[in-house]
């Protein structure tokens, strides 16, 4: 028999009676939250990444030590991508009597594909952004190079076999900073068309060829997929996340966080669905018994409910997806002007994910208990006490938890994370139930004290301890979500923001000679800049580990290969630099100065398989020295300070050629200081990281905004849980109030007992929720923000306060109408 029409009619009837509204609302919130977050992350990720791609000059860069093959360009064009090429190598250039080693970069038309160069019309004049690179026959040089060569705009520089005219002063390149610390030679920019005439490219020259690509994210992904597997040594594919770890970290954090927020709202919505289901079931026990009595088979009842749930889930999911899309669209209106770029169209994946979320939440949290309805004893029609709600928590919610894990997997696509999140949340639930149970026990002796309202309120809490437990878990979970928002907004996000304070160093001075130290300090002081700390730097090549020569091909990762291929900047210091922390071994004492020991950054150590006691042999300007690792350090790379992988104690490296590096904050309007600096100290190189800094700051800012926005859903879901919780016991309360009123209880008595009960429940669950929020906050702080956060009593107190007031008021308001109804109506209304 086809039960579909009957199920639909039932659904319609239940809906009309308002039974399913809480369930549907909870589902809609879950779906909307997941959908909007995923719409949002997929779009904003592309947008933010696109923005960050300015730091690379394109969305994807193919790097090679051989000339770019024409097929690669053709393939990119075929996929509708823009492309540009650059060729980079060190060479000597001349101007009159003077010469200088430069990092020559020849760029094709169209470069840069993302971001812009900035140039000035004359040495030390104000600069402006320009599109494209130098025209054929011309070059752009930085002010340092032009100063050293003694030329200005309009004059000529000899590059290999040809003379090229200086057309502008290059003040900033979008992709300047990549590897710049290792590239102390000043930059000269020319056009690729002139390159053959220079005759500079010889078979043996060390040349880096780049193919920059930009355009549709899908096409970029396609290229990645096609090219990645066939890369030989000497070739690589980079996107901005590979190239700029700071940007990658910021994006990763943001994504993790958004995903987490969405998951928390799904779980909360799951809890709301579970609560709403409780009421649904207790109301439908009789219905089921009657239907069994009227001839319905178990399978039929199951089918009727299943169809109803499936249709409800589908409808709620569709509405949720729509709401999610709208929400995401609203968020985009906020963010798009900030991002300043066209946002890519949203993909369909979030729609699918929304649908999956809706169905899985329903299937996990509502369907298993609802399917237990069919087991209601038919005899219940004669004996009401039979077949009460015996929902076996494990079988009913075990499936919910499993379902939730499936969702986490879909969302996070990471089994470990899924297990961790679910285990964490289970722990929280268990803790909530335990604490709630314990507190209820403690309440027992209080029953005998106080006035009638107090007694009735307290008695109510502990008498219906089963229900109170459910309510406390419900309120606790809801309050936890709200408090978590406070923790995250108040402490974690601002801490994240503060990691990049407004005065974080945005300029670095490199290649300061030892005899210039005092002069540089004096110069800066005279310019009104607080002279910063100057760090010594010795360039060295790593040759041996534990006495064995390094064979790059034996190294496992590309990063390890890259690390040993280039020169290290070694430094020395008396004390641990701020932002660094020793994680194993110990830092040196004054007695150790001059000893052959070093401190190594932990990720480098991990990459190269190094530990305490291993020895490294470096080649400094042809001379070898060996030192033993005496400590490993962790470095906060996000601080934008000058940091060193390898640090030695004073006295070990002084005899080698050394130069100094420093970073400081220079407000944009004081830019002229740098011009004067270059004039006075032409050998010093100025590195401008303001662009990257601002990029990272932008990303953080936008992610924080997004997180706050997404948290609206989390809060909604939390409120939904609380609402569903109040609702879950409404029926009994209504009946009870009616009976009590018939027995002569005054309205005011009942009201104050209800108020007391909810305030007490709120107080207790607020405390439990605060403890849980603090614990989750700690985990998030550690895992997502790499930050130590310790929740304090202030959080617990505010939890109790918010709980008492919030739940007290909401519960009282939600239940008050019970008192306004004539008891007869309630009693008859069964």
């Amino acid at each position: 028999m086809n039960h579909f029409p009957l199920a639909l009619r039932h659904l319609h009837r239940e809906w009309r009676a308002g039974e399913l509204k809480v369930l549907a609302m909870a589902l809609i919130i879950a779906v909307a939250s997941v959908t909007s977050v995923n719409f949002f992350t997929s779009r904003i990720h592309q947008a933010l990444a696109g923005q960050a791609n300015e730091l690379l000059g394109g969305d994807l860069v193919y790097l090679s030590d051989r000339a770019i093959k024409a097929q690669r360009v053709a393939r990119a064009t075929e996929l509708g991508l823009q492309s540009a090429t650059t060729v980079e190598f060190p060479t000597m250039v001349l101007a009159g009597e003077r010469n200088q080693l430069v990092a020559l970069k020849a760029v094709s038309a169209g470069y840069p594909l993302r971001g812009q160069n900035r140039t000035a019309p004359r040495l030390f004049a104000a600069d402006a952004a320009v599109t494209g690179g130098p025209a054929p026959g011309t070059v752009w040089g930085g002010s340092r190079l032009l100063t050293i060569l003694g030329v200005d705009v309009g004059e000529k520089i000899t590059v290999g076999n040809i003379d090229l005219k200086v057309a502008a002063v290059l003040t900033s390149e979008p992709d300047q900073s990549e590897g710049v610390l290792l590239n102390i030679a000043p930059r000269l920019l020319m056009h690729t068309d002139d390159l053959p005439d220079t005759g500079l490219i010889q078979p043996a020259s060390r040349v880096v060829y780049r193919l920059l690509l930009a355009g549709d994210a899908e096409a970029i992904g396609q290229i990645r997929q096609e090219w990645q597997p066939g890369l030989r040594p000497g070739e690589s594919l980079l996107d901005v996340q590979d190239a700029r770890p700071e940007v990658r970290t910021a994006l990763k954090r943001g994504e993790h966080f958004l995903a987490l927020a969405a998951l928390v709202s799904v779980l909360l919505a799951g809890a709301a669905v579970a609560m709403a289901t409780r009421r649904f079931i207790s109301r439908h026990l009789d219905n089921c018994a009657i239907m069994r009595c009227l001839g319905a088979e178990q399978a039929m009842i199951s089918r009727l409910y299943l169809i109803q749930m499936a249709v409800l889930g589908l409808l709620a999911s569709v509405v949720g997806i729509f709401v999610g899309y709208l929400a995401q669209w609203g968020l985009m209106l906020f963010l798009a002007p900030l991002a300043g770029i066209e946002l890519p169209a949203p993909s369909l994946w979030p729609v699918a994910l929304g649908l999956i979320t809706g169905m899985v939440t329903l299937l996990g949290f509502a369907v298993p208990p609802i399917l237990q309805l069919k087991n209601v004893p038919t005899l219940r029609v004669l004996r009401r006490d039979l077949g009460g709600l015996q929902a076996n928590a494990l079988s009913a919610y075990g499936i919910g938890i499993l379902a939730f894990m499936v969702l986490v997997l879909f969302q996070a696509q990471n089994l470990k994370l899924a297990v961790a999140i679910v285990a964490g949340l289970l722990l929280v639930l268990l803790m909530l139930a335990l604490v709630a149970g314990g507190l209820l026990l403690l309440l027992r002796p209080l029953r005998k004290k106080g006035g009638a309202a107090w007694r009735f309120g307290v008695v109510n809490i502990s008498r219906r301890s089963g229900h109170s437990l459910v309510q406390m878990v419900g309120f606790g979970v809801g309050l936890m979500a709200l408090l978590l928002l406070a923790v995250v907004r108040g402490d974690l996000l601002s801490e994240w923001e503060n990691r990049l304070p407004a005065d974080a160093p945005n300029r670095f001075l490199i290649n300061i000679q030892p005899d210039q130290l005092e002069d540089v300090r004096d110069f800066l002081r005279a310019e009104g800049v607080e002279p910063p700390l100057l760090y010594p730097m010795v360039r060295a090549r790593l040759e041996q580990i534990n006495g064995k020569a390094i064979v790059p091909d034996e190294l496992k990762t590309d990063r390890a290969k890259r690390l040993v291929a280039r020169e290290f900047n070694l430094s020395w210091a008396e004390a641990v630099q701020s932002g660094n922390a020793v994680v194993s071994g110990s830092w040196w004492q004054p007695g150790d100065y001059g000893k052959a020991i070093i401190s190594v950054e932990q990720s480098l150590a991990k990459e190269l398989g190094l530990g305490l006691g291993d020895t490294l042999t470096y080649n400094v300007a042809g001379e070898l020295f060996t030192a033993e690792i005496s400590s490993l350090r962790r470095i906060n790379w996000e601080s934008f300070k000058a940091n060193f992988f390898v640090v030695a104690p004073p006295g070990l490296l002084d005899k080698y050629p050394v130069n100094y590096i420093t970073g400081f904050y220079l407000p944009a309007e004081q830019h002229a200081v740098l011009n004067r600096m270059v004039q006075q100290f032409p050998n010093i190189m100025v590195l401008d990281v303001a662009t990257i800094l601002n990029q990272v700051r932008d990303i953080i800012e936008q992610v924080i905004m997004a997180v706050e926005y997404v948290f609206i859903f989390t809060v909604l879901a939390g409120l939904m849980v609380m609402y569903a919780t109040i609702h879950a016991t409404l029926d009994e309360r209504i009946r009870e109030a009616a009976v009590l009123r018939t027995l002569g209880a005054r309205r005011s008595q009942l009201l104050s007992s209800i108020m007391l009960e909810y305030t007490g429940l709120g107080l207790l669950s607020g405390l439990v929720g605060a403890i849980a929020a603090g614990a989750i906050g700690m985990v998030i702080a550690k895992q997502v923000f790499d930050l130590a956060y310790l929740p304090g009593p202030a959080l617990w107190l505010s939890g109790m306060l918010i709980g008492a007031v919030g739940v007290g008021v909401a519960g009282t308001l939600g239940t008050r109408f019970v008192l306004n109804q004539p008891p007869l109506k309630t009693l008859r209304g069964a």
């Binding site: 028999m1 009957l6 009619r9 009837r13 239940e14 009309r16 009676a17 039974e19 109301r283 009789d286 219905n287 009657i290 239907m291 069994r292 009595c293 009227l294 001839g295 319905a296 088979e297 178990q298 399978a299 039929m300 004893p377 038919t378 005899l379 029609v381 004669l382 004996r383 009401r384 109506k825 008859r828 209304g829 069964a830």
Partner: protein
Amino acid sequence: MTAEIVVNTQNLHKRVMSPEGELTLLQGVDLSIAAGETVAIVGASGSGKSTLLGLLAGLDEPTEGQVSIAGQDLFALDEDGRARLRGEKVGFVFQAFQLLPNLTALENVMLPLELAGRHDARQVAEEVLQRVALAERASHYPKQLSGGEQQRVAIARAFAPHPQVLFADEPTGNLDRRTGERIIDLLFQLNAEQGTTLVLVTHDPHLAARCQRQLELDEGQLQMELEPS
């Protein structure tokens, strides 16, 4: 007259475990009820009337003994089989009415027909509601109806699928005497019209007296049958 036997029990026992040990609720009940008969089950409170009714309708399983409805051994069937049999042959009226609160009067009457997959559910239900004089309250919810009206809806629901036998557990227990009388009149009328067998549990001697037979239960045992008055 050798009418067809609709309800028949043999040596029916019901025992349950309680904290105080085993309790015997029914002890060797043998009875048979012919098609179209009206039977009252009477007895003191706690004598086992509801327990017996529950067993007759297959809502519960006996510890020992047999029940057959229209020749079908109830407990040879599984729960679902009994449910199907109830849907086809048995109707119910309860003391507490047991209407579905979210369904209107009409929808409540339609329910058993819908469950049986009948396409004329609405039409039949409307006719039966008319028959119990509640046509104009069809779209009202149970809580908008008085107790007597609710019980009339319940009776309409019970009769709508034309059951062979109708069980009623104190159908007038929640109603005043006059309303109770009317409900009973209705039951007997429908019994007469449809030839339905009526089995009533009641405390009301007046009502019991209107039945063709009275069975008295005492501590789970059937007493000698009282002669029809």
